[in-house]
Protein backbone atom coordinates (compact mmCIF):
# COMPACT_ATOMS: atom_id res chain seq x y z
CA UNK A 1 0.00 0.00 0.00
CA UNK A 2 1.55 3.27 -1.10
CA UNK A 3 1.73 6.02 1.46
CA UNK A 4 -0.41 9.03 0.57
CA UNK A 5 1.74 12.13 0.84
CA UNK A 6 0.24 15.41 1.93
CA UNK A 7 0.70 17.96 -0.82
CA UNK A 8 -1.54 20.71 0.52
CA UNK A 9 0.33 23.28 2.63
CA UNK A 10 -2.61 23.71 5.03
CA UNK A 11 -2.68 19.95 5.68
CA UNK A 12 1.06 19.94 6.33
CA UNK A 13 0.73 22.85 8.77
CA UNK A 14 -2.14 21.11 10.53
CA UNK A 15 -0.02 17.96 10.76
CA UNK A 16 2.81 19.98 12.33
CA UNK A 17 0.27 21.26 14.87
CA UNK A 18 -0.90 17.70 15.58
CA UNK A 19 2.73 16.59 15.98
CA UNK A 20 3.34 19.39 18.51
CA UNK A 21 0.30 18.40 20.58
CA UNK A 22 1.03 14.67 20.47
CA UNK A 23 4.69 15.21 21.32
CA UNK A 24 3.84 17.29 24.39
CA UNK A 25 1.32 14.65 25.47
CA UNK A 26 3.96 11.91 25.27
CA UNK A 27 6.48 14.05 27.16
CA UNK A 28 3.91 14.81 29.86
CA UNK A 29 3.27 11.08 30.22
CA UNK A 30 7.00 10.22 30.23
CA UNK A 31 7.80 12.86 32.88
CA UNK A 32 11.24 13.35 31.31
CA UNK A 33 12.68 14.20 27.90
CA UNK A 34 13.32 17.16 25.63
CA UNK A 35 10.66 19.76 24.79
CA UNK A 36 12.17 22.74 22.96
CA UNK A 37 13.98 20.95 20.14
CA UNK A 38 11.06 18.71 19.19
CA UNK A 39 8.60 21.64 19.12
CA UNK A 40 10.97 23.66 16.95
CA UNK A 41 11.27 20.71 14.56
CA UNK A 42 7.56 19.86 14.21
CA UNK A 43 7.29 21.72 10.88
CA UNK A 44 10.36 19.91 9.55
CA UNK A 45 9.05 16.50 10.64
CA UNK A 46 5.66 17.18 9.06
CA UNK A 47 7.40 18.10 5.80
CA UNK A 48 9.78 15.12 6.02
CA UNK A 49 7.40 12.30 6.93
CA UNK A 50 4.34 13.56 5.03
CA UNK A 51 5.85 15.03 1.87
CA UNK A 52 9.59 14.58 1.32
CA UNK A 53 10.20 10.91 2.19
CA UNK A 54 9.32 8.16 -0.24
CA UNK A 55 8.39 5.51 2.28
CA UNK A 56 5.83 2.88 3.22
CA UNK A 57 5.11 3.00 6.96
CA UNK A 58 3.43 -0.44 6.77
CA UNK A 59 6.53 -1.87 5.10
CA UNK A 60 9.39 -0.17 6.93
CA UNK A 61 12.07 -2.40 5.33
CA UNK A 62 10.94 -1.53 1.78
CA UNK A 63 14.17 -1.69 -0.19
CA UNK A 64 13.63 1.44 -2.24
CA UNK A 65 12.56 3.71 0.63
CA UNK A 66 14.36 6.93 1.31
CA UNK A 67 16.40 6.68 4.53
CA UNK A 68 15.88 9.20 7.30
CA UNK A 69 18.83 9.21 9.67
CA UNK A 70 18.36 11.09 12.93
CA UNK A 71 21.74 12.04 14.34
CA UNK A 72 20.64 14.26 17.25
CA UNK A 73 18.81 11.37 18.90
CA UNK A 74 17.52 13.36 21.86
CA UNK A 75 14.80 15.00 19.72
CA UNK A 76 13.30 11.56 18.99
CA UNK A 77 9.91 12.28 20.65
CA UNK A 78 9.01 14.40 17.61
CA UNK A 79 10.20 11.66 15.26
CA UNK A 80 8.16 9.03 17.12
CA UNK A 81 5.11 11.28 16.92
CA UNK A 82 5.56 11.88 13.19
CA UNK A 83 6.03 8.13 12.63
CA UNK A 84 2.93 7.22 14.64
CA UNK A 85 0.84 9.75 12.71
CA UNK A 86 2.24 8.37 9.44
CA UNK A 87 1.13 4.87 10.45
CA UNK A 88 4.34 3.12 11.54
CA UNK A 89 2.74 2.12 14.84
CA UNK A 90 -0.43 2.94 16.84
CA UNK A 91 -0.56 6.42 18.33
CA UNK A 92 -1.41 4.97 21.77
CA UNK A 93 2.12 3.58 21.89
CA UNK A 94 3.41 7.17 22.18
CA UNK A 95 2.30 6.97 25.81
CA UNK A 96 4.97 4.32 26.45
CA UNK A 97 7.82 6.76 25.69
CA UNK A 98 10.82 6.11 27.96
CA UNK A 99 8.96 3.47 30.02
CA UNK A 100 10.12 -0.05 30.85
CA UNK A 101 9.45 -2.44 27.97
CA UNK A 102 8.87 0.32 25.41
CA UNK A 103 10.06 0.33 21.82
CA UNK A 104 10.28 4.12 22.16
CA UNK A 105 13.51 4.44 24.10
CA UNK A 106 14.76 7.76 25.45
CA UNK A 107 17.18 7.75 22.55
CA UNK A 108 16.26 5.71 19.45
CA UNK A 109 17.36 2.12 18.88
CA UNK A 110 17.19 0.65 15.38
CA UNK A 111 16.70 -2.85 16.77
CA UNK A 112 13.62 -1.90 18.77
CA UNK A 113 11.34 0.05 16.44
CA UNK A 114 10.90 -0.74 12.72
CA UNK A 115 11.39 2.44 10.73
CA UNK A 116 14.22 3.72 12.92
CA UNK A 117 17.23 3.48 10.61
CA UNK A 118 19.99 3.99 13.20
CA UNK A 119 20.63 4.11 16.92
CA UNK A 120 21.56 7.58 18.08
CA UNK A 121 22.15 9.71 21.12
CA UNK A 122 25.93 10.11 21.38
CA UNK A 123 26.18 13.18 19.17
CA UNK A 124 27.71 13.00 15.72
CA UNK A 125 27.25 9.29 15.16
CA UNK A 126 24.33 9.58 12.74
CA UNK A 127 26.29 11.81 10.38
CA UNK A 128 28.87 9.16 9.49
CA UNK A 129 26.20 6.47 9.28
CA UNK A 130 24.23 8.60 6.82
CA UNK A 131 27.38 8.99 4.75
CA UNK A 132 27.90 5.20 4.82
CA UNK A 133 24.31 4.59 3.72
CA UNK A 134 24.71 7.07 0.86
CA UNK A 135 27.97 5.48 -0.25
CA UNK A 136 26.49 1.96 -0.17
CA UNK A 137 23.40 3.10 -2.10
CA UNK A 138 25.55 4.70 -4.77
CA UNK A 139 27.69 1.56 -5.12
CA UNK A 140 24.50 -0.40 -5.78
CA UNK A 141 23.15 2.18 -8.22
CA UNK A 142 20.10 2.75 -6.04
CA UNK A 143 18.12 5.94 -6.58
CA UNK A 144 16.75 6.63 -3.11
CA UNK A 145 17.84 9.62 -1.02
CA UNK A 146 19.43 9.65 2.41
CA UNK A 147 18.33 12.50 4.67
CA UNK A 148 20.18 13.25 7.88
CA UNK A 149 19.11 15.62 10.65
CA UNK A 150 21.74 17.02 13.00
CA UNK A 151 21.63 19.72 15.61
CA UNK A 152 23.79 22.81 16.02
CA UNK A 153 25.10 21.80 19.45
CA UNK A 154 26.06 18.50 17.85
CA UNK A 155 28.60 20.43 15.79
CA UNK A 156 30.72 20.92 18.93
CA UNK A 157 31.77 17.35 18.19
CA UNK A 158 34.37 16.67 15.53
CA UNK A 159 32.52 13.79 13.93
CA UNK A 160 30.01 15.79 11.80
CA UNK A 161 32.84 17.77 10.25
CA UNK A 162 34.71 14.54 9.49
CA UNK A 163 31.59 13.04 7.95
CA UNK A 164 30.77 16.04 5.75
CA UNK A 165 34.36 16.32 4.54
CA UNK A 166 34.06 12.73 3.38
CA UNK A 167 30.65 13.39 1.76
CA UNK A 168 32.12 16.33 -0.16
CA UNK A 169 35.21 14.34 -1.19
CA UNK A 170 33.14 11.45 -2.56
CA UNK A 171 30.49 13.81 -4.03
CA UNK A 172 27.55 12.07 -2.38
CA UNK A 173 24.71 13.80 -4.24
CA UNK A 174 22.19 11.29 -2.84
CA UNK A 175 22.75 12.68 0.65
CA UNK A 176 20.94 15.76 1.97
CA UNK A 177 21.75 16.88 5.50
CA UNK A 178 19.96 19.34 7.75
CA UNK A 179 21.05 21.31 10.80
CA UNK A 180 18.52 22.35 13.37
CA UNK A 181 19.99 25.82 13.97
CA UNK A 182 18.04 26.80 17.09
CA UNK A 183 20.92 28.41 18.99
CA UNK A 184 20.33 26.47 22.21
CA UNK A 185 21.99 23.54 23.89
CA UNK A 186 21.80 22.15 27.42
CA UNK A 187 24.06 24.66 29.15
CA UNK A 188 22.86 27.75 27.29
CA UNK A 189 23.12 29.67 24.04
CA UNK A 190 25.27 27.90 21.43
CA UNK A 191 27.28 31.07 20.81
CA UNK A 192 28.26 31.19 24.47
CA UNK A 193 28.98 27.48 24.83
CA UNK A 194 31.03 27.12 21.64
CA UNK A 195 30.48 29.68 18.88
CA UNK A 196 29.46 28.26 15.47
CA UNK A 197 28.58 31.37 13.48
CA UNK A 198 28.94 31.94 10.59
CA UNK A 199 27.82 28.34 10.07
CA UNK A 200 26.75 28.76 6.46
CA UNK A 201 30.11 30.24 5.50
CA UNK A 202 31.91 27.39 7.23
CA UNK A 203 29.98 24.88 5.16
CA UNK A 204 30.58 26.77 1.94
CA UNK A 205 34.29 26.72 2.75
CA UNK A 206 33.98 22.91 2.88
CA UNK A 207 32.82 23.04 -0.77
CA UNK A 208 29.32 21.95 0.24
CA UNK A 209 26.12 23.20 -1.40
CA UNK A 210 24.67 25.16 1.52
CA UNK A 211 21.11 26.45 1.75
CA UNK A 212 19.80 28.47 4.68
CA UNK A 213 16.03 28.61 5.30
CA UNK A 214 13.39 29.45 7.90
CA UNK A 215 13.08 26.03 9.49
CA UNK A 216 9.54 26.72 10.66
CA UNK A 217 8.35 27.51 7.12
CA UNK A 218 7.24 24.24 5.51
CA UNK A 219 7.14 25.56 1.95
CA UNK A 220 10.66 26.97 2.35
CA UNK A 221 11.87 23.54 3.54
CA UNK A 222 10.25 21.79 0.56
CA UNK A 223 11.78 24.30 -1.86
CA UNK A 224 15.21 23.86 -0.27
CA UNK A 225 15.04 20.08 -0.71
CA UNK A 226 14.05 20.51 -4.38
CA UNK A 227 16.94 22.87 -4.89
CA UNK A 228 19.35 20.47 -3.15
CA UNK A 229 18.26 17.61 -5.42
CA UNK A 230 18.68 19.76 -8.53
CA UNK A 231 22.20 20.80 -7.46
CA UNK A 232 23.59 17.31 -8.02
CA UNK A 233 25.85 17.85 -5.00
CA UNK A 234 25.93 16.81 -1.39
CA UNK A 235 23.84 19.55 0.23
CA UNK A 236 23.50 21.03 3.68
CA UNK A 237 20.23 22.75 4.56
CA UNK A 238 20.44 24.97 7.60
CA UNK A 239 17.04 25.06 9.30
CA UNK A 240 16.78 28.28 11.28
CA UNK A 241 14.22 27.19 13.83
CA UNK A 242 12.71 28.67 16.96
CA UNK A 243 13.15 26.26 19.87
CA UNK A 244 9.84 25.64 21.63
CA UNK A 245 7.99 26.99 18.55
CA UNK A 246 4.22 27.25 19.05
CA UNK A 247 4.29 27.49 22.84
CA UNK A 248 5.01 31.09 23.83
CA UNK A 249 6.58 30.41 27.22
CA UNK A 250 8.95 27.78 25.79
CA UNK A 251 10.09 29.69 22.71
CA UNK A 252 13.81 30.53 22.60
CA UNK A 253 14.35 29.36 26.19
CA UNK A 254 17.30 26.99 26.62
CA UNK A 255 15.82 26.00 30.00
CA UNK A 256 13.28 23.98 27.97
CA UNK A 257 15.96 22.03 26.09
CA UNK A 258 15.88 19.00 28.34
CA UNK A 259 12.67 19.00 30.38
CA UNK A 260 9.02 18.04 29.88
CA UNK A 261 5.95 20.15 30.79
CA UNK A 262 4.06 19.63 34.05
CA UNK A 263 0.25 19.35 34.03
CA UNK A 264 -0.43 23.08 34.21
CA UNK A 265 2.20 23.91 31.59
CA UNK A 266 0.82 21.21 29.34
CA UNK A 267 -2.74 22.59 29.56
CA UNK A 268 -1.51 26.07 28.79
CA UNK A 269 0.56 24.81 25.84
CA UNK A 270 -2.34 22.84 24.35
CA UNK A 271 -4.61 25.88 24.64
CA UNK A 272 -2.15 27.92 22.59
CA UNK A 273 -1.73 25.15 20.03
CA UNK A 274 -5.51 24.75 19.62
CA UNK A 275 -5.95 28.44 18.90
CA UNK A 276 -3.07 28.22 16.40
CA UNK A 277 -4.86 25.28 14.78
CA UNK A 278 -7.98 27.41 14.41
CA UNK A 279 -5.89 30.12 12.76
CA UNK A 280 -4.36 27.63 10.25
CA UNK A 281 -7.82 26.34 9.34
CA UNK A 282 -9.03 29.85 8.59
CA UNK A 283 -5.85 30.88 6.81
CA UNK A 284 -6.15 31.79 3.17
CA UNK A 285 -3.40 30.59 0.83
Amino acid sequence: MTFQKLTDLRQLKLMANTIRQDTLRSLLEAKSGHSAGPLGLADFFSAMYFNILNHEPKNPKWEFRDRFVLSCGHVCPVQYTAMANAGYFPKEELMTLRKLGTRLHGHPHNGSLPGIENSSGPLGQGTSQAVGKALAARMEGKKHYIYCLTSDGEHNEGQPWEAWMFAAKYKLSNLIAFIDRNYIQIDGNTENIMPLDPLDEKYRAFNINTISVDGNDISAILNAVDSAKKSGKFSMIILNTIPGKGVSFMEKKYEWHGKPPNDAEYDLAIKELLSERQRIENETF
Binding site: G111, N118, S120, Q125, S128, K133, E140, E162, A163
Partner: protein, 324 residues
Protein backbone atom coordinates in the same frame (compact mmCIF):
# COMPACT_ATOMS: atom_id res chain seq x y z
CA UNK B 1 44.51 -34.41 22.93
CA UNK B 2 46.68 -31.83 21.30
CA UNK B 3 45.84 -30.83 17.73
CA UNK B 4 48.45 -31.06 15.00
CA UNK B 5 50.59 -27.96 14.59
CA UNK B 6 53.78 -27.32 12.65
CA UNK B 7 56.54 -29.80 13.38
CA UNK B 8 60.01 -28.94 14.64
CA UNK B 9 59.01 -25.50 15.96
CA UNK B 10 61.28 -26.08 18.97
CA UNK B 11 64.31 -26.16 16.70
CA UNK B 12 63.52 -23.54 14.07
CA UNK B 13 60.66 -21.25 13.03
CA UNK B 14 59.89 -18.87 10.20
CA UNK B 15 58.59 -15.46 11.22
CA UNK B 16 55.80 -13.45 9.56
CA UNK B 17 53.68 -10.58 10.97
CA UNK B 18 50.06 -11.55 11.70
CA UNK B 19 48.89 -8.42 9.83
CA UNK B 20 50.10 -10.15 6.64
CA UNK B 21 47.70 -13.03 7.29
CA UNK B 22 44.72 -10.75 7.54
CA UNK B 23 45.80 -8.82 4.46
CA UNK B 24 46.02 -12.06 2.49
CA UNK B 25 42.72 -13.33 3.88
CA UNK B 26 41.03 -10.11 2.87
CA UNK B 27 42.39 -10.40 -0.64
CA UNK B 28 40.86 -13.88 -0.97
CA UNK B 29 37.56 -12.75 0.54
CA UNK B 30 37.42 -9.97 -2.04
CA UNK B 31 37.01 -12.58 -4.79
CA UNK B 32 34.36 -14.67 -3.06
CA UNK B 33 32.41 -11.98 -1.18
CA UNK B 34 31.45 -8.96 -3.30
CA UNK B 35 29.79 -7.37 -0.25
CA UNK B 36 33.19 -6.96 1.45
CA UNK B 37 34.48 -3.37 1.41
CA UNK B 38 37.53 -1.90 3.12
CA UNK B 39 38.01 1.47 4.78
CA UNK B 40 41.29 2.77 6.12
CA UNK B 41 42.62 5.79 8.02
CA UNK B 42 45.77 6.75 6.15
CA UNK B 43 47.61 3.52 7.08
CA UNK B 44 46.94 1.45 3.98
CA UNK B 45 50.40 -0.05 3.57
CA UNK B 46 51.20 -0.85 7.17
CA UNK B 47 47.80 -2.42 7.90
CA UNK B 48 48.22 -4.51 4.70
CA UNK B 49 44.82 -3.53 3.31
CA UNK B 50 46.76 -2.04 0.41
CA UNK B 51 46.68 -5.49 -1.20
CA UNK B 52 42.87 -5.38 -1.25
CA UNK B 53 42.84 -1.72 -2.28
CA UNK B 54 45.01 -2.38 -5.32
CA UNK B 55 42.91 -5.30 -6.51
CA UNK B 56 39.48 -3.84 -5.68
CA UNK B 57 39.81 -0.05 -5.91
CA UNK B 58 36.03 0.44 -6.23
CA UNK B 59 35.49 -1.29 -2.89
CA UNK B 60 38.18 0.58 -1.01
CA UNK B 61 37.67 3.95 0.69
CA UNK B 62 40.30 6.23 2.17
CA UNK B 63 38.75 8.04 5.12
CA UNK B 64 41.78 10.09 6.15
CA UNK B 65 42.92 10.28 9.75
CA UNK B 66 39.42 10.04 11.27
CA UNK B 67 38.77 6.78 13.10
CA UNK B 68 35.39 7.80 14.54
CA UNK B 69 34.14 8.71 11.09
CA UNK B 70 35.52 5.46 9.69
CA UNK B 71 33.60 3.35 12.22
CA UNK B 72 30.40 5.31 11.56
CA UNK B 73 30.62 5.16 7.77
CA UNK B 74 31.27 1.43 8.04
CA UNK B 75 28.21 1.05 10.27
CA UNK B 76 26.08 2.88 7.70
CA UNK B 77 27.39 0.67 4.90
CA UNK B 78 26.80 -2.46 6.98
CA UNK B 79 23.20 -1.39 7.59
CA UNK B 80 22.78 -1.44 3.79
CA UNK B 81 24.21 -4.93 3.30
CA UNK B 82 27.94 -4.32 2.90
CA UNK B 83 30.50 -6.06 5.13
CA UNK B 84 33.10 -3.40 5.88
CA UNK B 85 36.56 -4.11 7.28
CA UNK B 86 38.01 -1.00 8.94
CA UNK B 87 41.75 -0.76 9.34
CA UNK B 88 44.05 1.28 11.52
CA UNK B 89 46.44 0.80 14.40
CA UNK B 90 44.79 -0.67 17.48
CA UNK B 91 45.65 2.40 19.56
CA UNK B 92 43.49 4.47 17.20
CA UNK B 93 40.81 1.95 16.28
CA UNK B 94 39.40 0.76 18.69
CA UNK B 95 41.45 3.16 20.85
CA UNK B 96 39.92 6.41 19.61
CA UNK B 97 36.49 5.30 18.37
CA UNK B 98 35.19 3.17 21.21
CA UNK B 99 31.88 5.03 21.52
CA UNK B 100 31.19 4.65 17.79
CA UNK B 101 32.03 0.95 18.05
CA UNK B 102 29.76 0.64 21.08
CA UNK B 103 26.70 2.40 19.64
CA UNK B 104 26.98 2.42 15.82
CA UNK B 105 28.34 -1.15 15.63
CA UNK B 106 27.52 -3.26 18.69
CA UNK B 107 24.24 -1.75 19.95
CA UNK B 108 23.02 -1.31 16.37
CA UNK B 109 24.12 -4.84 15.36
CA UNK B 110 26.02 -3.61 12.33
CA UNK B 111 28.36 -6.24 10.92
CA UNK B 112 31.70 -4.41 10.77
CA UNK B 113 35.11 -6.06 11.20
CA UNK B 114 37.80 -4.07 13.00
CA UNK B 115 41.43 -4.61 12.04
CA UNK B 116 43.59 -3.45 14.95
CA UNK B 117 47.13 -3.58 13.67
CA UNK B 118 50.25 -2.86 15.71
CA UNK B 119 49.05 -4.21 19.05
CA UNK B 120 51.41 -4.85 21.95
CA UNK B 121 54.86 -3.65 22.95
CA UNK B 122 56.32 -5.55 19.98
CA UNK B 123 55.38 -2.51 17.87
CA UNK B 124 58.85 -1.47 18.99
CA UNK B 125 60.54 1.88 18.27
CA UNK B 126 57.34 3.94 17.81
CA UNK B 127 56.98 3.84 21.59
CA UNK B 128 54.16 3.74 24.11
CA UNK B 129 51.66 5.94 22.26
CA UNK B 130 51.54 3.45 19.41
CA UNK B 131 51.58 0.22 21.44
CA UNK B 132 48.02 -0.90 22.18
CA UNK B 133 47.92 -2.70 25.53
CA UNK B 134 44.30 -2.04 26.49
CA UNK B 135 42.41 -2.96 23.32
CA UNK B 136 41.22 -6.39 24.45
CA UNK B 137 39.84 -4.96 27.69
CA UNK B 138 37.81 -2.27 25.92
CA UNK B 139 36.51 -4.61 23.23
CA UNK B 140 35.59 -7.66 25.25
CA UNK B 141 33.25 -5.74 27.55
CA UNK B 142 30.98 -4.83 24.63
CA UNK B 143 27.85 -6.92 23.99
CA UNK B 144 27.70 -8.42 20.44
CA UNK B 145 31.49 -8.14 19.99
CA UNK B 146 33.82 -11.05 19.17
CA UNK B 147 37.50 -10.61 20.06
CA UNK B 148 40.24 -12.53 18.24
CA UNK B 149 43.99 -12.56 18.87
CA UNK B 150 45.56 -14.93 16.31
CA UNK B 151 48.83 -16.67 17.17
CA UNK B 152 50.42 -16.50 13.71
CA UNK B 153 49.77 -15.29 10.18
CA UNK B 154 48.14 -18.53 9.04
CA UNK B 155 45.66 -18.35 11.90
CA UNK B 156 45.05 -14.67 11.16
CA UNK B 157 44.20 -15.57 7.57
CA UNK B 158 41.83 -18.34 8.66
CA UNK B 159 40.16 -16.05 11.17
CA UNK B 160 39.29 -13.66 8.32
CA UNK B 161 37.25 -16.37 6.59
CA UNK B 162 35.52 -17.45 9.80
CA UNK B 163 34.72 -13.91 10.87
CA UNK B 164 32.78 -13.28 7.68
CA UNK B 165 30.23 -15.93 8.72
CA UNK B 166 29.68 -14.26 12.07
CA UNK B 167 27.09 -11.59 11.27
CA UNK B 168 28.14 -9.29 14.13
CA UNK B 169 31.21 -7.11 14.82
CA UNK B 170 34.60 -8.81 15.17
CA UNK B 171 37.83 -7.31 16.47
CA UNK B 172 41.14 -8.67 15.12
CA UNK B 173 44.21 -7.95 17.22
CA UNK B 174 47.32 -8.07 15.05
CA UNK B 175 51.06 -7.55 15.34
CA UNK B 176 53.45 -5.35 13.46
CA UNK B 177 56.52 -7.44 14.20
CA UNK B 178 57.26 -10.80 12.61
CA UNK B 179 56.07 -13.61 14.86
CA UNK B 180 56.85 -17.35 14.70
CA UNK B 181 54.75 -19.49 12.37
CA UNK B 182 53.51 -22.43 14.43
CA UNK B 183 50.33 -23.65 12.74
CA UNK B 184 49.61 -25.18 9.34
CA UNK B 185 46.68 -24.82 6.97
CA UNK B 186 45.33 -28.02 8.56
CA UNK B 187 45.50 -26.93 12.19
CA UNK B 188 41.87 -26.70 13.36
CA UNK B 189 40.45 -23.22 13.85
CA UNK B 190 36.99 -22.25 14.99
CA UNK B 191 35.92 -18.96 16.55
CA UNK B 192 35.04 -19.58 20.20
CA UNK B 193 37.05 -22.79 20.48
CA UNK B 194 40.43 -22.83 22.20
CA UNK B 195 42.79 -25.56 20.98
CA UNK B 196 45.23 -27.63 23.00
CA UNK B 197 48.56 -27.24 21.19
CA UNK B 198 50.54 -29.43 23.58
CA UNK B 199 49.41 -32.03 26.08
CA UNK B 200 50.41 -31.84 29.74
CA UNK B 201 49.12 -32.77 33.18
CA UNK B 202 50.85 -30.64 35.86
CA UNK B 203 49.98 -27.11 34.77
CA UNK B 204 48.24 -25.37 31.83
CA UNK B 205 49.71 -22.42 29.96
CA UNK B 206 46.85 -20.44 28.35
CA UNK B 207 48.18 -17.99 25.80
CA UNK B 208 47.11 -15.79 22.92
CA UNK B 209 48.89 -14.02 20.06
CA UNK B 210 52.63 -14.52 19.80
CA UNK B 211 52.76 -15.64 23.44
CA UNK B 212 51.43 -19.02 22.26
CA UNK B 213 54.87 -19.68 20.75
CA UNK B 214 56.58 -18.53 23.97
CA UNK B 215 54.29 -20.86 25.94
CA UNK B 216 55.21 -23.81 23.73
CA UNK B 217 58.93 -23.09 24.21
CA UNK B 218 58.33 -22.77 27.96
CA UNK B 219 56.51 -26.12 28.04
CA UNK B 220 59.33 -27.77 26.13
CA UNK B 221 61.90 -26.43 28.62
CA UNK B 222 59.75 -27.25 31.68
CA UNK B 223 59.65 -30.87 30.49
CA UNK B 224 63.40 -31.01 31.11
CA UNK B 225 62.66 -30.08 34.75
CA UNK B 226 60.09 -32.86 34.95
CA UNK B 227 57.10 -30.53 34.68
CA UNK B 228 54.38 -31.53 32.25
CA UNK B 229 52.77 -28.36 30.90
CA UNK B 230 49.68 -28.25 28.68
CA UNK B 231 49.53 -25.36 26.20
CA UNK B 232 46.24 -23.86 25.06
CA UNK B 233 46.00 -21.45 22.13
CA UNK B 234 43.19 -19.19 23.31
CA UNK B 235 42.77 -17.12 20.12
CA UNK B 236 39.14 -16.22 20.83
CA UNK B 237 39.08 -14.07 23.93
CA UNK B 238 35.37 -13.48 23.50
CA UNK B 239 33.29 -15.62 23.46
CA UNK B 240 35.73 -17.59 25.58
CA UNK B 241 35.85 -21.40 25.45
CA UNK B 242 34.74 -22.29 28.98
CA UNK B 243 34.79 -26.05 28.43
CA UNK B 244 38.43 -26.26 27.38
CA UNK B 245 39.48 -23.99 30.27
CA UNK B 246 37.46 -25.81 32.91
CA UNK B 247 38.80 -29.16 31.69
CA UNK B 248 42.34 -27.80 31.93
CA UNK B 249 41.70 -26.60 35.48
CA UNK B 250 40.24 -29.96 36.49
CA UNK B 251 42.96 -32.00 34.85
CA UNK B 252 46.06 -29.94 35.63
CA UNK B 253 44.97 -27.91 38.70
CA UNK B 254 47.07 -24.82 37.96
CA UNK B 255 47.02 -22.14 35.26
CA UNK B 256 49.41 -19.57 33.83
CA UNK B 257 48.02 -17.08 31.34
CA UNK B 258 50.26 -15.25 28.87
CA UNK B 259 49.46 -12.25 26.70
CA UNK B 260 50.95 -9.05 25.29
CA UNK B 261 48.34 -6.83 26.99
CA UNK B 262 47.71 -5.12 30.31
CA UNK B 263 47.12 -7.65 33.09
CA UNK B 264 43.79 -5.95 33.79
CA UNK B 265 40.97 -6.79 31.45
CA UNK B 266 42.72 -9.05 28.97
CA UNK B 267 43.01 -12.80 28.45
CA UNK B 268 44.12 -13.44 32.04
CA UNK B 269 41.07 -11.64 33.41
CA UNK B 270 38.79 -13.52 31.03
CA UNK B 271 40.26 -16.86 32.14
CA UNK B 272 39.99 -15.89 35.81
CA UNK B 273 36.34 -14.90 35.38
CA UNK B 274 35.54 -18.37 34.05
CA UNK B 275 37.60 -20.43 36.49
CA UNK B 276 36.83 -18.47 39.66
CA UNK B 277 33.16 -19.18 39.06
CA UNK B 278 33.28 -22.75 37.74
CA UNK B 279 36.46 -24.43 38.98
CA UNK B 280 38.82 -22.27 41.06
CA UNK B 281 42.51 -23.18 40.81
CA UNK B 282 45.62 -21.04 41.34
CA UNK B 283 46.39 -18.70 38.42
CA UNK B 284 49.50 -16.66 37.61
CA UNK B 285 49.66 -14.00 34.95
CA UNK B 286 52.28 -13.15 32.36
CA UNK B 287 51.21 -9.75 31.00
CA UNK B 288 52.10 -6.07 31.05
CA UNK B 289 51.86 -5.07 34.70
CA UNK B 290 49.84 -1.82 34.70
CA UNK B 291 52.41 0.32 32.92
CA UNK B 292 52.96 1.91 29.50
CA UNK B 293 55.38 0.66 26.88
CA UNK B 294 58.43 2.53 25.54
CA UNK B 295 60.75 2.66 22.54
CA UNK B 296 63.16 -0.16 21.77
CA UNK B 297 63.42 -3.12 19.45
CA UNK B 298 60.52 -5.56 19.67
CA UNK B 299 62.69 -8.25 21.24
CA UNK B 300 64.26 -5.89 23.77
CA UNK B 301 60.79 -4.82 24.84
CA UNK B 302 59.40 -8.35 25.07
CA UNK B 303 62.32 -9.13 27.40
CA UNK B 304 61.99 -5.93 29.41
CA UNK B 305 58.25 -6.36 29.91
CA UNK B 306 58.62 -10.00 30.94
CA UNK B 307 56.78 -11.55 28.02
CA UNK B 308 59.23 -14.33 27.10
CA UNK B 309 59.21 -18.09 27.63
CA UNK B 310 61.47 -17.78 30.67
CA UNK B 311 58.88 -15.54 32.36
CA UNK B 312 56.19 -18.11 31.65
CA UNK B 313 58.42 -20.82 33.13
CA UNK B 314 58.95 -18.77 36.29
CA UNK B 315 55.21 -18.29 36.73
CA UNK B 316 54.62 -21.99 36.10
CA UNK B 317 57.04 -22.92 38.90
CA UNK B 318 55.38 -20.39 41.21
CA UNK B 319 51.84 -21.55 40.49
CA UNK B 320 52.85 -25.17 41.06
CA UNK B 321 53.85 -24.24 44.61
CA UNK B 322 50.35 -22.91 45.19
CA UNK B 323 48.69 -26.02 43.82
CA UNK B 324 46.91 -28.14 46.43
Amino acid sequence: MAVKILENIYEKVDKVPTRDGLGKGLLELGATHPEVVVLCCDLTESTRVQWFAEKYPDRYFEVGVAEQNMAGIAAGMASEGKVPFIASYAVFSPGRNWDQIRVSLCYSENDVKIIGAHAGVSVGPDGATHQALEDIAIMRCLPNMTVLSPCDWIEAKKSTFHAIDNKLPVYFRLTRDKVPVITTEDTPFKIGRAEVFRDGSDVTLVASGQLVYEALIAANELKKEGISARVINNHTIKPIDKTTLINAAKETGAIVTAEEHQVMGGLGSAVAEVLSEHYPVPIKYVAVMDRFGESGTPDELMVKFGLKSKNIMEKAREVLKMKR
